[in-house]
Amino acid sequence: MNILSLLVLVPVLTVAAILLAKDNKQTRLYSAVGMSIQLILSGILVYMYIQERNAGNTELMLFVKDYVWFESLNIHYAVGVDGIAVAMIALTSVIIFTGIFASWEVFNLHREFFISLIVLSTGVFGFFISLDLFTMFLFYEVAVIPMYLLIGIWGSGKKEYSAMKLTLMLMAGSALLLVGLLGIYMHSAPEGAPLTMNIMEIAKYDIPVEVQRFLFPFTFIGFGILGALFPFHTWSPDGHASAPTAVSMLHAGVLMKLGGYGAFRIAMFLLPEAANEQAWFFLLLTGGSVVYGALGAIKQKDLKYINAYSSVSHCGLILFGILMITKTAITGAIIQMISHGIMTALFFALIGMIYGRTHTRMIHEMGGLMKVIPFLGVAYVIGGLASLGLPGLSGFVAEMMIFAGSFEHADTFHRVLTIFAITAIVITAVYILRVVGILLLGPVKNKHFFELKDAKWWERLPLITLIAAIAFIGIAPFWIIELIDESLVPLMDKLLSIQ
């Protein structure tokens, strides 16, 4: 069987196994086993992909499989991956693996929770392997819908409101996206030829420019809403604040990346002329949101809000890098997707663990935690340092590639905007150090904190996994660049041929 379809099948089988589980312990065991297999599988995929490339396979997409699904509309179940997709799949499997362990402690409706979570991840895996617009959209919806249940049922605070808001806003995005995708489909082939949903097929044909101009905003904003594009990001702070730990991890870590990935793979790649023409407008929005999100984070009091605003800033940088349309910047943006995915998952995992101990997320009610729970404290500091772009950790590589790539433009507009965005590195340092200072350092604020226990093994495992990934990308960025580099060439050729 095709390895890509296995990636979808394993989560589905895991869900089936969970349905048969006798109690909560079995549930989490099955989940852990299933997602470990998934992690190994994606490791094998990376290995196979590199082998294939080394063997001289220069096909754009590897492991392609194509089944006709709905003939009259020419809808196929078409899968295939390039280096970028492989990287995103690896990211997803790491996050879902760690997410399972972050939900280890038994709570209400444990089984249903894991089912929803794994269904969600199925959607994400499906999205990344799809080559067919319809299939891709379908998987996209599969990923978004369980979110409503996960937040609405297992969330905290204003959970119904947040769940509703998040779902409705993402649905609004889907609606825009649907217009864009159908529009692309309608113009996917020259007059007379049969229409197609296959991305690779569409890319061979140049959609008329007028059509592109019309469709680009729909598609880009449609994906952008999921990628926290200003001003459509407001679902994110509320949503994250209410969501349970693993959901926040998966959502900020992976689901938001669907936005950036789709914006690049669909909106920019299939509508390149419009992308070049309209990039300036979205650059203003995203460049602004890089600084805006960081400023918004400074004065927040709730740990999750801080991280949510920080995500707005970092995800803004992803779209910013993509819109720069230089190879360096886009490479940087893709690394930023991975880097931010891991980093933010780490943060949300830690916040969940800290909340589980102190029963508060308000930073002013905590203090001196480094003394009592040093393992979590150190992990938080490392995450913070990665977030503020310390060399040797993943954030630095991504940011520098985006900035250096932006400076390749000869015009003043791009460079001035980049300089504006660079100011965020200082603001990020401010809010990160503020949190670290209040939360972890200083004297222990509450004498009950002295009774807190440091991380258990099921907490250490995900944290160490995530930190190792951050350090790995930060120290040896060349491997990941090699993985995505070749795949970027055709994409860039199409985008740059227009300029």
Binding site: K165, L168, M169, F230, P231, F232, H233, T234, W235, P237, D238, Y292, L295, G296, I298, K299, Q300, T328, G368, M370, K371, L385, L388, G389, L390, P391, G392, F396, V397, M400, M401, F403, A404, G405, F407, E408, R415, T418, I419, I422, T423, I425, V426, A429, V430, L433, R434, G437, L440, L441, G442, P443, V444, P477, F478, I481
Partner: protein, 639 residues
């Protein structure tokens, strides 16, 4: 000549950091410090070997020392020409810095076994020291400006971690945060400068950038932006980064607070090595400054001069001995920066460059000695404040003698090393700009005064009541003191004019009496005044500070720089900008989104009455509609 092994100089401390860091709660203190010291000793030996090999056995070409790439590998590729490399560049200044960093770092490693004994987190301390040493070695051997930026950030974070070593103490936490954020703010300009230089010259490589006949230097002169070439702007931005790390005005505010860290850290990071990174940066890019952007060099000279004056004035009023030393560091770095600013490229014009590096070298030794001495004092009396000290010469004889040597050195008393290096700086300033020369001359006098104020106040003057009789430091602390004191003697006689020049060729130097005599005189006057005022307890200091009135108060409060920064960051950025952004996000952006939801809900509410299910109502609406359309047709409204 093969210098490939030089890559090990930074890597060995890195391994030591990883080992101690991962096993910090498994290792005993002795083992942890043993690993750290062994690693540093290895780097120390290799650094000295490199210096020997480079200065004595490497063949000169055309009478000039060559720049040699010991090791180089591409780490992160941006474009074909722009990439971050990791490697080692061996040339006179990097070799000199290797010697400085390894010497001071090793001494601090040894000293800390005594000073930090019994501290909680002793192993953590040693792992951070190793991390710092790794970063600093990496910085000084950088082959390209982006590698330097990478390590620049890493020394910044090591400094952050070490200042905040006592992390349950709020003042230490605040100081570490301040140090990181202020330098980060400066680094932002540095980064923009690097990107601009890369854009103009299409290279980050130091060899390509600083080759006087190369294409990089020739470019960028043409494009003007606000009256100056883009290259000038880029170099000013880069210098701002350097000014941040080197605590030059207006980025100096973090350095005095950084004294919250353990004293050995102050000696290593905030006196001898990391804070001179800014000087080293300008020296590294000196040919670019000198040839393509003399305007930027002028800025450098004045920033240095003003900072050195400012810091020297403030130092005269401080009571915390570490803070006096911190301001003194800032003042001395101002000297080095100025010296670069007044320097030229070749022959005797290049004396400023040589003097700057010379002073960097001697300063590292005597300032580390001063800090370690201060550490021994603090260790003995458990206080930082000079009011709580006095008469310590009897109790701490070794510390006293070594401290006196260092104080005489910094005051510029011949034949100690400080005299020679400072003299060269004054000579360079004298030939370039008389105004700067007079500032520096005055600062020389002030330096002698405040340093001897400190010395007399601590070791002479009235003895307060000590709870325990102060004891001199253990051998582990005495040895570094004596070693560095010896260096303070010898360093002055090293032939820097032959070794370290801009173009690698030896230059002639000779004593210029017109400079040397007034400089020594100013120093002696400063010492004399301090002796009168502070050797015994007198009422003179109070009278003088009263006489200066407001000025004294301003000086004592460091001219309110901290308050201004506090106001701007907390009041304006945090409270006004950040709060309004947060408010705007909740109440405008989000409210709009919620509003759309509400409108949808409300309109649904309004029109839901239409779906009544009553056939009569539907029939009525249907027929009314039909009639309206019919009328419209009749009246030809559609045409």
């Amino acid at each position: 000549m093969d210098f490939t092994y030089t890559i090990l100089i930074p890597l060995i401390p890195l391994f030591s950091f990883l080992i101690i860091g991962f096993l910090h709660n498994k290792l005993s203190n002795t083992v942890a410090s043993g690993i750290g010291i062994t690693a540093l000793t290895a780097s120390f030996v290799m650094s000295y070997y490199t210096a020997y090999k480079y200065f004595f056995t490497t063949e000169k070409i055309d009478g000039a020392y060559q720049k040699i790439i010991g090791y180089n590998t591409v780490w992160l590729q941006f474009t074909e020409n722009l990439h971050i490399d990791m490697g080692t560049l061996i040339d006179p200044i990097s070799v000199m810095m290797l010697v400085v960093v390894s010497t001071v770092s090793l001494m601090v490693h040894i000293y800390s076994t005594g000073y930090m004994k019994g501290e909680d987190g002793f192993n953590r301390f040693y792992s951070f020291l190793s991390l710092f040493s790794f970063s600093m070695f990496g910085l000084v051997v950088s082959t390209n400006i982006f590698q330097m930026y990478v390590f620049w950030e890493l020394v910044g974070v090591s400094s952050f971690l070490l200042i905040g070593y006592y992390y349950d103490k709020p003042s230490a936490v605040a100081a570490s945060k301040k140090a990181f954020i202020v330098t980060r703010f400066a680094d932002m300009f540095f980064l923009i400068g690097i990107l601009t230089v890369g854009y103009i010259t299409d290279t980050y490589d130091f060899l390509a950038l600083t080759d006087p006949s190369g294409s990089a230097i020739a470019q960028g002169g043409g494009i003007l932006f606000m009256g100056m070439s883009t290259m000038t702007w880029a170099l000013i931005l880069i210098f701002m980064g350097g000014a941040g790390k080197s605590a030059m005005m207006p980025f100096h505010i973090w350095l005095p607070d950084a004294m919250e860290g353990p004293t050995p850290v102050s000696a290593l990071i905030h006196a001898a090595t990391m804070v001179v990174a800014g000087v080293y940066l300008v020296a590294r890019l000196f040919p670019v400054y000198s040839i393509s952007a003399p305007d930027a060099l002028e800025v450098v000279a004045y920033v240095g001069a003003i900072s050195s004056l400012f810091a020297a004035i403030v130092a005269t009023t401080q009571f915390d001995i570490k803070r006096v030393l911190a301001f003194s560091t800032m003042s001395q770095i101002g000297y080095m920066i100025t010296a670069l600013g007044v320097s030229g490229m070749h022959g005797h014009e290049g004396v400023g460059y040589m003097a700057s590096m010379f002073h960097l070298f001697t300063h590292a030794m005597f300032k580390a000695l001063l800090f370690l001495g201060a550490g021994a004092v603090i260790h003995a009396v458990h206080s930082n404040l000079m009011n709580e000290m006095g008469g310590l010469r009897k109790y701490l004889p070794v510390t006293h003698i070594t401290f006196l040597i260092a104080t005489l050195t910094i005051a510029g008393v011949p034949p100690l090393s400080g005299f020679f290096s400072k003299d060269e700086i004054l000579v360079a300033a004298f030939h370039h700009d008389k105004f700067i020369f007079f500032i520096q001359l005055f600062v020389a006098g002030l330096t002698a005064f405040y340093m001897f104020r400190l010395y007399f106040r601590v070791f002479w003057n009235k003895e307060p009541h000590y709870h325990h009789t102060p004891h001199d430091a253990p051998m582990s602390m005495k040895f570094p003191l004596m070693f560095l004191a010896m260096f303070s003697f010898v360093a002055g006689f090293l032939p820097f004019n032959e070794w370290i020049t801009v173009d690698g060729k030896a230059i002639e130097i000779h004593t210029e009496w017109v400079v040397a005599i007034p400089a020594t005189l100013f120093g002696l006057i400063g010492i004399a005044i301090a002796m009168v005022m502070y050797k015994k307890e007198t009422a003179i200091p109070d009278k003088i500070s009263a006489a200066f009135g407001k000025f004294y108060k301003w000086t004592f409060n460091k001219f309110y720089f901290d308050e201004i920064y506090m106001f701007v960051t907390h009041k304006i950025i945090f409270n006004i900008v950040s709060k309004s952004v947060a408010w705007f996000d909740r109440n405008v952006v989000d409210a709009t989104m919620d509003g759309i939801g509400h409108v949808t809900e409300k309109s649904a509410e309004m029109i839901k009455g239409l779906q009544s299910g009553q056939i009569q109502k539907y029939g009525f609406v249907f027929i009314s509609g039909a009639i309206i359309i019919a009328i419209a047709f009749i009246l030809n409204l559609f045409y």
